[in-house]
Each structure stands twice: as C-alpha cells, then as structure tokens.
C-alpha cells in the first residue's frame, strides 16, 4: 500500500539515519482509482502530518511521513469531535505499528488500518499514498 521514499532528515544527531537526498518527487493519494498529486515530497516533515483537501471541496485526508520515510494517509476528521484535526496530531509507534494521537482528546488511530486503538467502535478511513518521481 505504501511506497518507500526517503526524506531529508533534519535532525542533527550524529548517528541518526544518514540523510538521503530525495527531496524531489511529489506525493500522490489514490482516490477512486486515480492518483491525485497533492504536494512536493519536500513539504513533509518526518513525524508530523499535513491536511489535504480532496476534490469535492469538503472531504479531507491527513498525510503523514514516518522517520523511515514511509507515507500514510487517513481521514482527517476526528470521529470523536467532528473537527478535522488528525493531521495535527503527534505520530508515534506502539508494538512497531505507527499511530497518530488526536490533538484534541488524544485517542490514537493506527495509521495503516485507521482503527482507533482506544475504542474498538471507532475508526477512520485510509488512503493509499506514494511518492512519484
């Protein structure tokens, strides 16, 4: 589902993964069978998200990059509050699986499945994302 990409690592740590040079290329989301180009890969910061407005002008996706350079996209709307804020949450990992914690009331969502880790009955949709050259 996700495509590998590498990003400039902005940390100054001596032994952090060596910064790879691929800041070019653009990020795409798969919607109804077609790939929508959303932004330059260089706009993303590892561990942080951005929001994407989908073509219907209402729906939104939250796009994340992890430190290994993997991309994830889930629905941006926090099902607990109704506000479109998941892209502004903090990314983390639990048992090796990436999640984002809602910035409002901190419920966590698995970035691969959209499942809410703190409430079996809640979840959000997921999108395929990739970097195209």
């Amino acid at each position: 589902m996700t495509t590998m990409t590498t990003m400039t690592d902005t940390s100054t740590a001596a032994d952090a993964p060596a910064p790879a040079a691929t800041t070019d290329g653009s990020v795409q989301l798969r919607l109804d069978g077609t790939w929508l180009t959303v932004c330059a890969a260089a706009r993303l910061t590892p561990g942080r998200g951005v929001a994407v407005l989908l073509p219907d002008g209402r729906r939104q996706a939250a796009l994340f990059l992890d430190r290994a350079g993997r991309l994830y996209a889930i629905d941006n709307r926090d099902p607990f509050s109704g506000a479109a804020v998941l892209s502004r949450g903090l990314v983390g990992s639990a048992d090796g699986r990436p999640f984002v914690a809602s910035p409002l009331l901190k419920q966590r969502f698995d970035l691969e499945t959209g499942r809410c880790l703190d409430d079996d009955e809640a979840g959000v949709g997921v999108y395929e994302a990739r970097v195209s050259a």
Partner: protein
C-alpha cells in the same frame, strides 16, 4: 426521628438493634466490619456520635495545617451509611446506659433499646492539674474542633505557643503550632522526647534535629503554672526549674485517658488505670456490651493508644457478634509498632523497642550529623525482637515484617546505612509469605502479591489505606513496581532524561530514543507522551547543550503538541486562540485599541482571561500569521498560552496608586514576566506579585508568588489553583529585588531539573524527598552546591530569549506550515464554522459532543 421509631421498611423489620456509641476511627471501621459480616441487614444499626461531624482521620489531624480541609479528612462515606441503612446521629452523645432495661439515653433525649451495645468512645486528653489550666488560650489537641479553635485563637492573640508534653501527640501539636507560624516550645517532663516510643539515643537524635528546625525543647522539666493577664488570658508559663516562658497559647498534650465514664456509671468492670475491661472477643463484663478502640482495656491488660489495634478490635467484635459462641476471632494484644513523620522527622519503633525481653542485646548506629539513629533489639538466638529508627526509616516495613524471625543477614548490617560496609542486601524478597506487611489491616505479603497493582491491593485487602506507612513496601512487592519510566518508549523518569540530555548534550529526540530508549522502542516513532516531554527538556536546556532555542526548528517541530506547533491553542472545532503577552496585566490604551481592532478585523471572539490578559478565539490556521503580523507590529509578543512555559505574572496595582501598597508590585511583576517569558518547564508556570499583605493579586495560589513587605519581598512557592488547589509556602522573607530574582532563578531551574512530566510545582514540592525544607536547603543554602549552575542556566535562557512569533513571521519557510491544506493553501477548512451569540461568534460544532479519552488529561 422519634425515639425507637422503626427504620427499616415495615415488611421486613430487622429483629435486632445494635447501638454504637462513638463514631471515631474505630467506630467507623466497626461499621464497615458489620457490613462485611452482613449484620447491617439483620440489625437496625444506630450510631450516637458526640462530635458535630462523622468519623474523620484523627491520625492526620495535623495535615489540616498543611491545607487538608475537614472534609478531606473525613473517613465516612455518606453513600456507605445510606446504603446500609445506618442511623447516624451527629452531635448527640450517649449520656446514660441502663443495662437492665437494655437502653441508652442520649443528650437530646433519645432512648434507644438495644440488643447489642458497642462502646467506641475513644479517649480524652489528660490535662495535668496545674494552676491556670483553664485560662483563655489553653487548649487540648484531639478533634477538628480543637484545631479550629487553636487556629482562631492564635490568629488574634498569639505569636508564641507552648506544648505541654513531648510524646507523639505533643510533637503533633507542636507541628500544628509551627504550621500556624507560631514560635514553638515543647515542655516534656521525661528526660527525652517521645519517651514511650524511643530510647535515649533516639530521643537525642530527635532533639538535635528538632532544635535545628527552630523548636525550643525543654526536657526534664515540668509545667508549674500558667500565668494570665488581667483579662484572664494566657501570657506566660512557669516551669519547674523556675524559668518563665512568654507564651500566648498553651496546648496540653500530656497523654490521654480512656473515656470509660459511661461504663463506670452503669457498673461495667474497668481496669485499675482506666479502660473498659474486655475479653478476647472484646466483650465487657456484660455479654451484651462490647468495647473497642482506645476506650477498652484489652484481654492482655493493655490500653492501646494507636489506631491499628483499634481496627483489629473492631474486626474482632463484629466477627464475635456475627458468630456468637462459635467465634474464633480473638484480640489478644497487638504490636505497638508505629512509623510517623513528626515535624518532618521520620520516627519508627516496632516490636520490643525497649529491649524488655530477657537476655536480649541491642545493636545501634548513630550519626549525629545527619540526625540518624537506629537500634535493633535481638534475642539471644538471633531473633529480631524490635527496634527504633529515627531520621531514616527506609527499612521499617521490612524490619517490622521480619520481627519474630532470625533475619537472613547479621543485625549490624541491617543498621548500617546503604553504602557503608557490606550492603544490607535485605530486600522485601527476604520476607516470608506470611509476614504481615500492613499492620493496620493485618495483610500478609502473600495477600498483597495476589494483586497486580497498588489500587487493586487497596481495594481487595485494604492494605495501605490506614496509616499508609506500608505503601512503600507494598510497592516493592508488586510486579514491575520498579518501572518508573516516562512511557512505553523510555524506562527513565523525566528527571533522569533531563540529566542524560544535560550531561551528554543530546540535542536530538531521535538520538535520545535510539540510544537511551527501551530496547523495543529504539528506531521507532516514539509516542505522544515522550515527544513533547523531551522537546521541553531540550528547549529548557537549549543554550547549554547547543540546541536551537526556537521550538519549531528541524526535528523539534515534529515533537511539539499541536499548540506549540502552531504557537496557538487548539479549540474544540479545529480553530485556534491567540493570547498576546501583557506583562503584569499592564496595558496602554493604544495597545488595547490594537487588540480590539485586530479582533474586529478577523471577527474573533474576545474575552478577558483569568490571567489578566485578553484571549482572541476562532482564528483559522492560515489567519494566525496575519493576525500576529499586526500584533507584533504593535509591539506585542507571544503570550505562550500554548506552551508548558511561563504564563502570566499577575499584579495588583500596588504602591503607585493603592493607599495600602508598600512596594511597586506592577514593576516587579513586569520585570519577572519579562525575565522568565518563554521558559519551557515540565508544566505551565504562573506567578503574581501583590503590593501588600492584602494579596489582591492572589500570589499564594501561584507556582511562585511574591508579596511585598515594608522592607522587601516575601517569596512563596508551590501554589496552585486548578483542580487541586494549594496555598504556596513561604520560601524566604524580606528579600531585596536582586535576592528575590536570584532565588526565583534557582527555584525554577531546580524544579525544571527534577520535576516529573506535567507535574506542577505544587505536586512536585509535595512529592520530592524532604519537601519544602529540602528545596530551601538547595536553593537558599546551596546544600548541593548547584546554585551557580542553576543561575547560569537561567542567565542563558534570559540572554537567548527570542519572541517565537516575531521569529516565525520573519521566515517564509516557517510560515509555510500555517495553511489548512498543503494542496490548497488559500482554502479555509470548511468544517470551521461559527454562529453568532451575544454579539460575537461561537463554534458551530460539526455534530459530535466531545467525550474525553479515559485517563487523558487536559494539556
């Protein structure tokens, strides 16, 4: 209710009536035991309570002076009383018992017929018959009413007080007088303090430490007379050695006497030296009448003045009432072990502390420098019989549980402090399974270990819910109790991470995680708990470790909570609020107008905050830079309402205008706010400066509060409003401007260095070993020799401070993140919408109501 009126529903009248006289700690425990035995369903239970309030924690009485309210001291759960249909009559003592008719008559005239009568009347303080003992200003120390009366009297009439009696209760009372800010004397007839609990060596260690804390201790001296003034109020006290102490108030704490008068009057047997005689089932000489707690003389002939034996008697009596003649519960005597913190000094004694057994030996260790004294009493065969610990009671739980057995290591090793000679490698593992870990509730190590967490232990076994002295040992017996780690990613505490970052100069979260994180978390993404916590540590050490102080640069940007990331506070609908800094709450009309204009232009909801500034709500992400461009232009800076950082320093108008003011509180508030603005801390920091003791700025509810005096400033620390309010404690008095700033610098940096994540100064001060005294030692007396370093760190912070909004606006790259959508920078979020209310806007909520995640806390 009419006397004798039936209480239960008419269709199931309980057959029998049980009357309890006295609702103290033991009485309440007895009611709980009745309920556990199912007796509340078979009996009508009526309680006569002399005090105007239901049972409360008498043991913790003195904590009233550190802020516990009478309500918080309560040990009575109204729901419990109601659920079990218990009739509780407050302020209505029993006055007469007619054993033949089996009735009790109360002061209000109630006559209650009983089948079973239980006396739990406790004790009454003993007041020696010295002339003047009834003068105004003489008190005893036993009830909440006593405490309130002492407090009220001291406020109006006394600056110095004396306590008659240097035993456990006397020291408690002395703690209360100190808590009231009175100069305090203790007069003890015996040659040492706490004669009943400790030996000469222990008493000497105690004396040294207490004298060091400003108490005047007079041992080996009696009280001869209380001298009064013309109005009949206490003015001084004459001692047996002829000396006169000028005091405005006297508290008698010379021991207690069992309250057995009711029993005597109705012909029940009482002991020679008082106390209602009971057998092993706690029955008096009349089988229908039981006596428990401090009013009873147990089957072993002793009257126990401690709560744990009382609880055991309560259990025994309830079991005896439940099972009648086949009762196998018995109270044959109890251990007099105690562990106390008196006036900040830990004191414990257990088992045969005085070495009364034949052929026993004692092993002791004394260090007068640190005020530590330890003595163990060992039998001829090596059995540990008891001991006394003063100053360091670390080993109390383990030693008490080992009493009666031969310890696995020689006794002399057990008294040596850790690090001296061979390590006393005696952990809780060494305890046998049937060792009693919690004395109050008689809970064994095995029972504790059947549970997984402390809350579970408390719920299932009640261990730890009495005096609390066993909680530490329980913690050591529970699985993974050693894991104090910050979160699933780090096994270290925040303080440990702070030290790692500081000493190894690690300026990167990833590096910290990959090198120092838990094995399983290394190389991962971290989590929402440790990321902001580490970001805060790095930010507060930034200049010292060579990191960039700007919180949104590079990796730091990815670590911050959304509020810090957008330098604004996220609201429930996804919009943000904007709080410009208004130092000290002082603002010019022109600046006020700018705020008004900005709010009007962007249509923001505007509100005066509780922190003497103005909050503008309802800004969308992409509006934040536009709004701040105008504010920065007019000379405003970020107010850090979003950060775990200094919020506001509130001020009162002070000397400049106020007829009472003695210092310029506004100027000082502004100076302090500008000095500490932007400082990142484990939690938010608030402050205030008042121009005189009227305290209009509410400085004592702040993390650091300053109150003007005629000759300078008083500094208070550890105050808190919010969910768990706490009044700040006085750290130092009459400081000059420079001394004040220097002390605050040190205090804040010491807090930042040692506090836990999201721990306000109030909670920190309560938690750290030694509390306020320790903090004072460190920041006032430089006992750790770190003050120069703390000051240097603060100086670094002050020189490197830059306004985050000013910096952000100056950098187009940083500004690029302030968009709702990465692919449509111009579009606003269609879900952020508003409707009008009272002439302003409010969020038009998309649909749902917010439901907090269990265990989550507001950030």
């Amino acid at each position: 209710m009419h006397p004798n009126a039936p209480v239960a529903t008419p269709d199931t009248p309980p057959e029998k009536t049980l009357v309890l006289v006295g609702h103290g700690m033991v009485g309440q425990r007895f009611l709980e035991a009745l309920a556990e035995q199912g007796l509340t369903t078979t009996h009508r239970v009526v309680v006569l309570c002399e005090e105007p309030r239901p049972a409360y924690d008498r043991v913790q009485l003195t904590s009233y002076f550190s802020g516990r309210t009478p309500d918080e001291l309560s040990v009575t759960d109204a729901e419990f009383i109601e659920k079990h249909g218990i009739e509780l009559h407050l302020g209505d003592p029993a006055e007469h018992i007619d054993r033949r008719a089996r009735t009790v008559t109360s002061r209000s005239g109630r006559t209650l017929a009983y089948d079973t009568l239980v006396l739990a009347t406790g004790s009454v303080p003993f007041v020696p018959p010295v002339p003047g003992k009834d003068a105004a200003g003489c008190f005893v120390y036993r009830t909440i009413e006593d405490v309130l009366a002492i407090e009220a009297y001291a406020k109006e009439n006394a600056t110095t007080g004396a306590v008659v009696g240097g035993g456990l209760l006397g020291l408690e009372a002395a703690g209360a007088l100190q808590g009231l800010g009175l100069g305090t004397h203790i007069v003890e007839f015996a040659p040492r303090l706490m004669p009943a609990q400790v030996d000469d060596g222990g008493g000497a260690a105690l004396l040294r430490t207490l004298t060091g804390r400003g108490l005047a201790v007079h041992t080996g001296t009696g009280t001869q007379e209380i001298l009064t003034d013309d109005a009949g109020a206490v003015r001084a006290m004459r001692l047996s050695d002829g000396a006169e102490l000028e005091v405005g108030l006297v508290v008698f704490s010379a021991g207690v006497r069992p309250r057995d008068q009711l029993a005597r009057d109705c012909g029940l047997a009482v002991g020679e030296r008082g106390g209602i005689t009971v057998d092993e089932r706690c029955r008096t000489s009349d089988p229908a009448v039981y006596a428990i707690g401090e009013c009873a003389q147990a089957a072993d002939g002793r009257v126990y003045g401690l709560v744990a034996p009382g609880y055991e008697m309560a259990q025994t009596a309830a079991a005896a009432i439940a099972s009648g003649d086949d009762c196998d519960a018995a109270f044959t005597g109890a251990d007099m072990s105690t562990k106390l913190k008196l006036l900040g000094v830990d004191v414990a004694s257990f088992g045969d502390a005085h070495g009364a057994a034949e052929d026993c030996l004692d092993v002791s260790y004394a260090d007068s420098r640190s005020g530590t004294y330890k003595k163990l009493v060992v039998g001829a065969d090596g059995t540990l019989l008891g001991g006394v610990l003063v100053g360091d009671t670390e080993a109390y739980g383990t030693l008490r549980a080992l009493t009666g057995s031969v310890p696995p290591v020689p006794a002399e090793q057990l008294v040596l402090p850790a690090g001296a000679g061979a390590a006393p490698a005696l952990g809780p593992e060494a305890l046998p399974g049937d060792a009693v870990v919690c004395n109050c509730h008689n809970v064994t190590k095995d029972a504790v270990q059947a549970c997984a967490t402390l809350p579970e232990v408390k719920k299932c076994t009640k261990a730890g819910t009495g005096c609390g002295s066993c909680v530490k040992l329980i913690g050591q017996l529970l699985p993974q109790s050693g894991d104090q780690g910050l979160c699933g990613c780090f096994a270290q505490t925040r303080q440990e991470l702070y030290e790692i970052v500081r000493t190894l100069r690690i300026a990167s979260y990833q590096e910290l995680l990959d090198r120092h994180g838990r094995e399983s978390a290394r190389g991962g993404e971290g989590c929402e708990t440790c990321k902001p916590a580490v970001a805060s540590v790095i930010a507060s050490l930034a200049p010292a470790i060579g990191a960039d102080g700007y919180v949104l640069d590079g990796e730091q940007a990815a670590l911050q909570d959304t509020n810090d990331h957008f330098l604004a506070n996220l609201q429930k609908n996804g919009s943000y609020s904007v709080v410009p800094r208004i130092p000290g709450g002082e603002i010019t009309p022109d600046k006020l107008i700018v705020i008004g204009e900005v709010a009007r232009e962007f249509g923001l909801y505007t509100k005066i905050t509780g922190g003497q500034r103005i909050d503008l709500f309802g800004a969308r992400v992409e509006q934040l830079p536009l709004i701040w461009a105008k504010l920065v232009d007019a000379g405003f800076e970020s107010g850090h309402a979003y950060g775990k950082a200094l919020r506001t320093v509130k001020s009162c108008v002070g000397q400049t205008w106020c007829r009472y003011g003695v210092q310029d509180s506004v100027r000082m508030a502004i100076d302090l706010e500008l000095r500490y603005r932007g400082l990142r801390a484990p939690h938010k920091l608030k402050s205030a400066v008042s121009g005189c003791a009227r305290e209009c700025a509410e400085a004592r509810s702040k993390d650091f509060g300053v109150i003007a005096t005629a000759s300078g400033w008083n500094l208070y620390v550890g105050g808190n409003g919010g969910a768990t309010p706490r009044h700040a404690d006085l750290l130092a008095q009459d400081l000059s401007d420079a001394e004040l700033v220097r002390l605050i610098d040190r205090f804040l940096m010491f807090y930042i260095r040692t506090a836990d994540r999201l721990e306000r100064t109030s909670a920190w001060l309560e938690r750290i070993d030694g509390g306020l005294d320790h903090v004072r030692d460190v920041v006032v007396d430089d006992s750790l020799g770190i003050c120069a370093e703390l000051e240097a760190l603060m100086a670094d912070h002050v020189t490197h401070y830059r306004d985050e909004w000013g910096e952000t606006l100056a950098d187009p790259e940083r500004l690029a993140r302030f968009v709702s959508f990465v692919n449509a920078p111009e579009s606003p979020d269609p879900l952020v919408a508003f409707v009008p209310e009272r002439g302003q806007i409010k969020p038009d909520l998309p649909l749902l109501t917010l439901r907090p995640l269990e265990g989550s806390s507001a950030r």
